[in-house]
């Protein structure tokens, strides 16, 4: 699987640059794993695995397609097996499991994390709750350190750990019963996540009125769900999509919306202020919702929120509740840097630096409301929820 990952990355870059990788391989995989214990290399310094996955989801060639193509090309190459089924070949690696799950484009990152932890429980041979918790903690720490930039990953892990701790405190008489319950709930979490999206769509589409113009930044599956539901409820509205460089999220979103029959207009990122006059509301998703009530989202969200705020337009964020994280960034640099590869299409001269950060932090005073599966919340509710959970 390691080879596929490296090759995938090169192929995608190759595809995007239109053939010529003009820059030296700045991101050649640096670490080669020494032992079987860590079959997955750490993601490259400087490239956030989280945003890498997102790019892979957005790319026209998907990782799965590529791997199948390569498997077909190299005949005799064993087909890729989900690591969970491999019983004796290699010891269970939660990171493998996680990688297997997060490749699916429809699955949220936190869900993938929880699936991986559940698989960890399943394959563990602990006999008491305490042992199980310790194993889980180790697995969760491994996941978190594998990708330090993904907020929903760590939020999902924390949430599940919290749930395990609380469930074990409820005096299950039988350890195996408790274990089964944990596994069952964890696996149901995928459904919960889908249900969450539907709840958010129901709540959010209430705010869309006939004849309104919505500005959307970034490609969020939750936002897409909201718009889909509003369209199916025969609401008449139009959407402005920002282009979303370098991920081309706007192109992907506009394609989806066009198939739904919603009138879409594409803007370059710099045209947001120009178009903000005609806009009635801004709707974005979130990579993570922090304790202050602000959100961390794709680069450009802060800008859009600032412009909207200065023109008195409401900014709505659609985020599932498991994205609430115990972070409190005080400024943009307070976050773990998540870097993306940015292609300019032309060779960049040597001494020129590039701002490669993939995300920014939008403070809560620029947000109007958060649509979550816990209901429609004002930003101040987030810390309340987190306190209830963690303290």
């Amino acid at each position: 699987m390691r080879h596929v990952t490296r090759k995938e990355r090169r192929e995608i870059r190759f595809f995007r640059c239109g053939g010529a990788t003009s820059r030296p391989n700045a991101d050649a995989p640096t670490s080669s794993p020494d032992s079987i214990m860590e079959p997955n290399p750490k993601p490259n310094h400087g490239i956030s695995a989280y945003y890498q996955t997102r790019a892979e989801h957005h790319a026209i060639i998907s990782g799965d397609w590529l791997s199948q193509a390569q498997a077909a090309a190299a005949a005799g190459h064993p087909p890729e097996e989900p690591p969970a089924s491999a019983a004796a070949s290699k010891p269970f690696s939660v990171i493998d499991e996680f990688n297997h799950w997060r490749r699916k484009p429809d699955l949220a990152e936190a869900v993938a994390a929880i699936m991986a932890l559940v698989a960890g429980i399943r394959s563990s041979d602990a006999t008491t709750m305490m042992e199980l918790e310790i194993e889980l903690k180790k697995a969760s720490d491994a996941l978190k350190s594998w990708d330090t930039t993904s907020i929903s990953l760590s939020a999902g892990c924390d949430l599940f750990m919290r749930y395990v701790t609380r469930t074990s405190a409820l005096e299950y008489d039988d350890f195996h019963a408790a274990k089964l319950r944990l596994i069952e709930r964890g696996e149901k979490f995928g459904e919960i996540s889908l249900k969450a999206r539907r709840t958010i769509a129901m709540l959010g589409q209430d705010f869309i009125f006939d004849g309104c113009t919505i500005l959307v930044h970034g490609f969020s599956r939750v936002v897409l769900e909201v718009l889909k539901l509003a369209a199916s409820n025969r609401k008449l509205f139009r959407v402005f999509c920002t282009e979303g460089r370098p991920d081309k999220t706007g192109l992907r979103l506009s394609k989806e919306l066009a198939t739904l029959g919603i009138p879409v207009k594409l803007l370059i990122d710099s045209a947001v202020a120009y178009a903000m006059d005609e806009v009635d509301m801004v709707l974005v998703g979130a990579d993570g919702v922090v304790e202050s009530g602000g959100v961390i989202n794709m680069m450009g969200t802060y800008q859009t929120a600032l412009v909207a705020h200065s023109m008195n337009k409401p900014v709505y964020v659609a985020a599932e509740s498991y994205k609430f994280a115990r972070l409190y960034p005080l400024d943009q640099k307070d976050l773990e840097p998540a870097l993306r590869l940015i292609e300019f299409g032309v060779p960049i001269p040597a001494g020129v630096e590039i701002e490669k950060s993939a995300r920014d932090y939008t403070p809560p005073q620029y947000l109007t409301l958060l649509f979550t599966d816990l209901g429609v919340l004002t930003p101040s509710v987030v810390s309340d929820e987190l306190i209830q959970l963690y303290l």
Partner: protein
């Protein structure tokens, strides 16, 4: 129940004909009506809470549906009606839950639930504490804590342990029989408490007046709100010296009435026009106004003109305080059509038809006169303009309103009307 139906229709007619003045009276009468509904409801052996909830919901739908959206000029009273209906529904759910958990813990068995039709979960070895905790979690608004829990439709109902057999069954049903009386009784008691709260809301709010009004202050208000009047009078009784600027609140000029009342209590008062608010606001220490309703995001539905005062206060950094009883707290958001559309009152308040009859003549100019007179009744004030809400439970930030709503209302009750379209 024909008797009940008559009561309901009677109440609706009274509302429509504006026989009921003000949201406090409306809220109280709604609560009394719902108390009647609950006490007259025949209770089955099982599934009691849902029966009560359905009955109250049915009446609530009738009451709310009586206000075609935006048509009546006292639609804010219907907001109060909706609030009380939702409060009662929440009370029923809470009382049901506390009686269920008490029963379960009392029994000490892994059995016992109110709703046999709910999803049955076979959970061997689950202790009563766990079941109670799960049941408790179904009542609370969904939260991060309960995200991973199973959330069945009603309280968790594990199968009784197989060794129980008949004796357990009998004891359960006997227990339920006594519990049924208790639930109704508890609900009616709680509704009585609610009525009590509504009655005393003005006293509770006025008690806090001393903390907010200090010596030699200048206070601005607009129009006439009974809560504000009692607030100011209470401060006066506690020997605070202060002055009040009353903006008259055109076109109804209720500010004149308030000024007279304040003078009667010995408070130094100045009457100004609405247009003079911006001119005078810099000399004012604090603005205190009443509201028709407080929305879930902290926004305020208030008589027309108050938004202007709020903006003036923000411009000059003057604290803008809203006093309102907690029965005015509405779990809806301003985008909701029940709330959104403004009322338009009679234009004759503004212009005398006699003088302007030729401009407003629909006959002569082919159906569409050049002069229109618009008399909106309400204003919406954004939450960021409000500094403080003073309710009978104390002083709160606008960003705290969600917490009050979570305390008083259940998420399931937000949509009382069935979607009949």
């Amino acid at each position: 129940m024909p008797d009940l139906q008559a009561l309901v229709t009677d109440f609706v007619l009274k509302l429509k004909r504006r026989k009921i003045e003000g949201s406090q009276a409306t809220a109280k009468q709604t609560a009394e009506l719902l108390r009647q509904v609950v006490s007259q409801q025949r209770m089955p052996y099982t599934n009691q809470a849902s029966v009560l909830i359905d009955a109250v919901r049915a009446v609530g739908e009738q009451l709310i549906a009586a206000n075609p959206i935006g048509e009546l000029s006292n639609s804010y009273l219907f907001l109060a009606v909706g609030n009380i209906v939702r409060r009662v529904l929440h009370i029923i759910r809470e009382e049901n839950l506390s009686s269920t958990t008490a029963a379960m813990e009392g029994l000490g068995l892994t059995a016992g639930s109110d709703d046999d039709e709910g999803e049955h979960e076979d959970r061997p070895g689950l202790s009563a504490a766990a079941v109670a905790a799960a049941a408790r979690s179904t009542l609370r608004a969904p939260s991060l804590q309960t995200l991973l829990e199973d959330i069945p439709e009603s309280a968790v109902a594990p199968h009784p342990s197989s060794s129980g057999g008949d004796s357990e069954g009998k004891s359960k049903s006997a227990d339920r029989g006594s519990r049924s009386k208790k639930l109704k009784h508890d609900v009616i008691e709680a509704i009585n408490e609610l009525i009590q709260d509504i009655d005393t809301c003005h006293e509770l709010i006025s008690e806090q007046a001393v903390e907010h009004i200090h010596q030699n202050e200048v206070i601005l208000t607009l129009g006439r709100s009974r809560t504000v009047k009692e607030f100011l009078c209470a401060a006066k009784e506690k020997k605070r010296t202060f002055r009040v600027f009353v903006a008259e609140g055109a076109p109804r000029y209720q500010g004149h009435v308030l000024a007279k009342e304040l003078v009667g209590k010995g408070i130094q008062t100045t009457v100004i026009t609405d247009s003079a608010v911006f001119a005078m606001i810099s000399r004012v220490n604090m603005v205190i106004v009443g509201a028709h309703a407080i929305m879930a995001n902290g926004g305020v539905i208030a008589p027309v003109g108050i938004n202007m005062v709020a903006l003036a206060a923000q411009r000059h950094a003057v604290p803008f305080v809203v006093v309102a009883g907690s029965h005015k707290l509405c779990p809806l958001y301003p985008h909701n059509p029940e709330v959104l559309l403004n009322e338009f009152r009679c234009p004759s308040d503004l212009l005398d038809f006699g003088e302007f009859s030729d401009c407003m003549d629909y006959g002569s100019l082919g159906g569409s006169p050049l002069l229109h007179v618009v008399n909106p009744a309400f204003d919406y004030v954004q939450p960021k303009l409000v500094s403080l809400f003073i309710t009978d439970t104390g002083g709160h930030n606008p960003s705290y309103v969600y917490r009050l709503i979570a305390d008083y209302y259940s998420a399931d009750d937000l949509v009382v009307q069935q979607n009949s379209t």
